[in-house]
Amino acid sequence: MSGDLEARLGVERDGFVLDLPIEIPAGRTVALLGPNGAGKSTAVASLAGLLPLDRGRVRLGERVLDEPAAGLFVPPEERNIGVVFQDYLLFPHMNVAANIAFGLGGRGLTRTEIDSRVASWAERLDISDLLNRRPADLSGGQAQRVALARALVTDPDLLLLDEPLAALDTSTRNRLRRALSDHLAGFDGPRLLITHDPTEAFLLADEIHLVENGRLTQSGTAEEIRLRPRTRYAADLVGSNLLEGQASRGTVRAGRGTLSVADSEAEGPVLLSIHPRAVALHLSRPEGSPRNAWASTVTRVEDHGDRVRVGLGEPLELVAEVTPAAVAELSLSPGSAVWVSIKATEIGLEPV
């Protein structure tokens, strides 16, 4: 029976302050999403025990792992936390089998038991034919699966994934993201995903924590953050309109509307991304009748200085980003009627 994670991470280093509450129930995935330098990797290091806390507390299940005020610190080797590191950090002098078996040493297991556990995880992750290879001879995707096997074979109480897909090229990343999602579902402890990619957070996590400058600036589901970003960063990154839909012959049904898209090949469930700046607003039906145009209602208007974010209601909940001048010109305020248009080529589409 796996326990939940409850932590308040307080770390101070070279003028940088991390002060981050994290709670993850067993069987759930939380994504820490933030720009580079936000303190995401520091959070991983402090949870793993590689960086002791200055303040706060880490509790995993029944065990308190770090609590400076109580003089308590459990070293990394006694925490039983599985970590998939950003560039995987496979031991270059060992083959794949030895890498996976590394964490099983010193646990009173026989050679046969170790071998069979390595073999069974290798099979689950489809890397059985790579066991004799050196890490240098693996592709990025293969290395990622080996790293995952190495972290999971010890049956950890918490799984930390530090940018597990960042080292891969785009097409591999899309393919492995789905596989990773399945593997995560098979792990019943709490899972923490570190990422700077909102799509990744949206697809892999149950809940997203936004981290900026060492602090939690917003948390909630992808939908909540998308519709109500609280900071400029959130608006820029997560505020991009991400919508689930069903594709069929060049159109996608999403919300209660249907959109034309440039990609006529896609079929089945897809994830649409539409940048708020690509959503154009008009007082009346736009001239030249672009295929994606419909009437909607403004739900809210948020002033972010040189840009204004406009929330749009039925039939398709979207966020548009316009200039303050446009807001004045269209006299936009909550409740006002507006026409919306989006060029088909501005709609990003990824199969899920």
């Binding site: 290091a45 793993a48 025990g49 590689l50 070293p75 990394p76 080797e77 006694e78 925490r79 039983n80 936390i81 599985g82 970590v83 590191f85 950090l89 031991f91 270059p92 002098h93 060992m94 590394f102 964490g103 040493g105 010193g106 646990r107 190495r150 972290a151 010890t154």
Partner: protein, 269 residues
């Protein structure tokens, strides 16, 4: 020859102002070696090297240089680890002191050892009073002198390798349940193995060639402290053939070490 062809062949030829000094520079190393080779008593080489005085020196050099290398490995690798991975006040100064034998005249090193560990030295005197153990003018003195001058090569090589090793690998090993010693043994050491081997080879070669500190601290007693370099020095006065024969052995060993190191370096890069 057309003008264009002339220009091309000229460009291919390196400038004489660089080649001439380079030839002189190379000659500086080649000529003495040739001197040894032409003077070598090839016919009686085997006989000389197995005769009394040379055989004694060979045995003593082999034992003392290998012992110095082993001692360096046992205490020099941990020292390198401490210098690379811990912070404490006076660390830079300590590193400087450890590296000192690299630039210090070995005779001065030998004298310093004598003042500290000699029979009237501040460590040597109580040591003799308490245990009866006398370090200088013994085989132990030879090993200590060789360790003193050669260990810095190991420390500097291993420390460099440890500093260049991404500490996150050790962190990854720790998250997999490995304690600090296991991490050192299974991750750190294997990952710096090429540098460790290079360092040990350099250390051994330096220990084998040690002269100044040895003669000052351990003396020149045939069969007890007279190593190969000391034997060469003595033989130059009495038996030139022996001096040349021993020198050839040392040149061969040193050259072999350099060739091995080159292969190592290529493997690493």
């Amino acid at each position: 020859m057309t003008a264009a062809e002339r220009t091309r062949s000229n460009r291919r030829r390196p400038p004489i102002t660089l080649v001439l000094p380079a030839v002189v520079g190379a000659a500086l190393f080649v000529v003495p070696l040739v001197g040894l080779l032409v003077r070598a008593p090839w016919a009686s080489l085997g006989e000389i090297l197995t005769a009394g005085i040379v055989a004694d020196a060979l045995r003593l050099s082999a034992i003392s240089s290998l012992a110095a290398t082993a001692v360096s490995a046992l205490i020099g690798v941990p020292l390198a680890w401490v210098l690379a991975r811990t912070e404490f006040p006076g660390k830079s100064l300590l590193r400087g002191v450890v590296m000192l034998p690299l630039v210090l005249p070995p005779v001065v090193g030998g004298a310093a050892l004598l003042f500290a560990l000699g029979r009237r030295g501040f460590v040597g005197e109580p040591l003799e009073r308490l245990t009866g153990f006398v370090m200088p003018f013994s085989m132990w003195g030879v090993i200590l002198a060789a360790t003193f001058v050669s260990m810095p090569f190991l420390v500097i090589t291993v420390e460099g390798a440890l500093s260049g090793l991404d500490p996150r690998y050790e962190g990854a090993a720790a998250t997999l349940g490995a304690g600090r010693l296991t991490v050192f043994r299974r991750v750190t050491l294997p990952m710096i193995a090429p540098s460790l081997v290079s360092g040990l080879l350099l250390t051994w070669a330096r220990a084998l060639g040690e002269f100044g500190a040895t003669v000052t601290f351990a003396g020149n007693l045939r069969g007890r402290t007279q190593t190969l370099p000391l034997a060469v020095f003595v033989a130059l006065e009495s038996d030139r053939d022996a001096a040349v024969a021993i020198s050839l052995v040392m040149v061969a060993v040193s050259l072999a070490v350099l060739v091995l190191l080159r292969d190592r370096w290529r493997q690493v890069s």
